[in-house]
Amino acid sequence: MRNINRISRIFTLFSILILILSFMTGCISDTEGQHDKSFFAMDTVMNFRVFGDRSAKKAMNKAVDKIKEIEKHMSSTYKDSDIVKINKAAGIEPVKVHDDTFYVIKKALEYGQLSDGALDITIRPIVELWGITSDNPKVPSKEEIDERLPLVDYRKVVLDQDNKTVFLEEKGMGIDLGAIAKGYAADEAVRILREAGVENALLNLGGNVITIGGNPDGRPWRIGIQDPRSQETGQPHFAIVGVANATVVSSGDYERYIQEIYEKTGERYHHIFDPKTGYPADKGLMASTIISSSSIDADALSTILFIMGYEEGFKLIEKLDNVEAIAVTLDKEVYTTEGLKGSLIQSNDHYRIMD
């Protein structure tokens, strides 16, 4: 009798210990040093993978919050955003905006100038006309387009550096930061992470891939470049690049286009409009990719490259530092800038990588 008593007492003691331990372990989670988070912002899914200790996880959450804050300022739909206010006051009066919005608009106008108008954030009237992001996209008539085209002119945006105001000169004008906002958001996220000492991270902001350092296992991050015709080829990507501390951004005619027309006639009316014509850019490319250390540059330049076409686009890009580019023509030929020659690993034989 006494022996059973002793045994059961010891047994209870140890059971309680195991219970306490299992509760404690429940408070901690994640695989070793790797913190993942998926969230929604800027109309898309964003995935973060940050390596490090608790402070890295904190920095990651801080970066997520920053992105949501940026979205509030630069969204075209959020009703109190700077952009919505600017668009409402077009032709009426200047609008004071947050510092980050001002910075992004200023940078975008610089790109407008650099690309001679290929990137033009005042493209909104055309975007709305085509209704590509709405439920009823349609092909507008030439008259409708010509009517709105004069409103598309980045030179008609007036900035006041001292008061941080933005003014659209004509009524009916509108700006859309879609081509550049994610890039800015990514750079901010990276800044926050680096300040916290993070050395390895992989971020995906709606398809824009940003890396800090390389893979913690010592190799560079292997990033696939989206196959623009993956629905036909069945392959996810056509090439792989190894990157560290760089951003990879792709633009193309495969992201958003009018489904019904494509199905009936095979014609693609996609969403990257040429500000000079008001029609989807047709300089012969189906996709453009930029690899750069700056995300805002990569974001802007991938649109610029697509709209300019690869000959003119590469001329512009070769003049810039720390930027490399890949262009895929409608004939499935792949061209790259000098710095990338020989660095692309082909993963799909529907495409030809040209010398």
Binding site: F14, Q34, L202, S250
Partner: protein
């Protein structure tokens, strides 16, 4: 006195060793549950057989809950919620509401269907091979 008998193994000692074995066992279990199912999955929404949305999500970590309203035409709608718990149809205005009462799906291969609305939300696993990549720029 305690000291004289203290070198002999006693019954409590056995418990100590058993305890250690249990702990080691739990560690292996813990390790196993973590390394399974690593990687990226896609939540794909289809209407009438057409893929209208495909969201890539990294399932290892925290997934902030998000509700997506899908208009299925002629006034119909389904509301999908994606979170760390999985994917579920929160609400719909179809006559039978079978989709709403479907359990949460979590694993590639599973799907929730709304037949009246011709609506499907499914989870797809991305399997790679020789051309494995850490992520794709799209």
């Amino acid at each position: 006195m305690f000291m004289d008998k203290s070198m002999k193994p006693k019954i409590g000692d056995i418990f100590v060793y058993v305890f250690i074995v249990i702990l080691v066992g739990l560690s292996f279990l813990g390790l196993k549950t973590m390394s399974v199912d690593k990687g990226n999955i896609r939540v794909q929404i289809e209407l009438d057989g057409q893929v209208i949305d495909s969201l890539e999500v990294w399932q290892d970590g925290e997934i902030e809950a998000q509700e997506i309203r899908v208009d299925t035409g002629e006034g119909g709608y389904n509301i999908v919620k994606i979170s760390s718990e999985g994917v579920v149809v929160l609400d719909a205005n179809c006559p039978d509401r079978l989709c709403v009462s479907s359990p949460t799906i979590k694993v590639p291969g599973q799907s929730i269907v709304c037949i009246p609305h011709k609506f499907v939300v499914r989870i797809i696993g991305e399997s790679q091979g020789d051309n494995a990549v850490d992520d794709t720029a799209s």
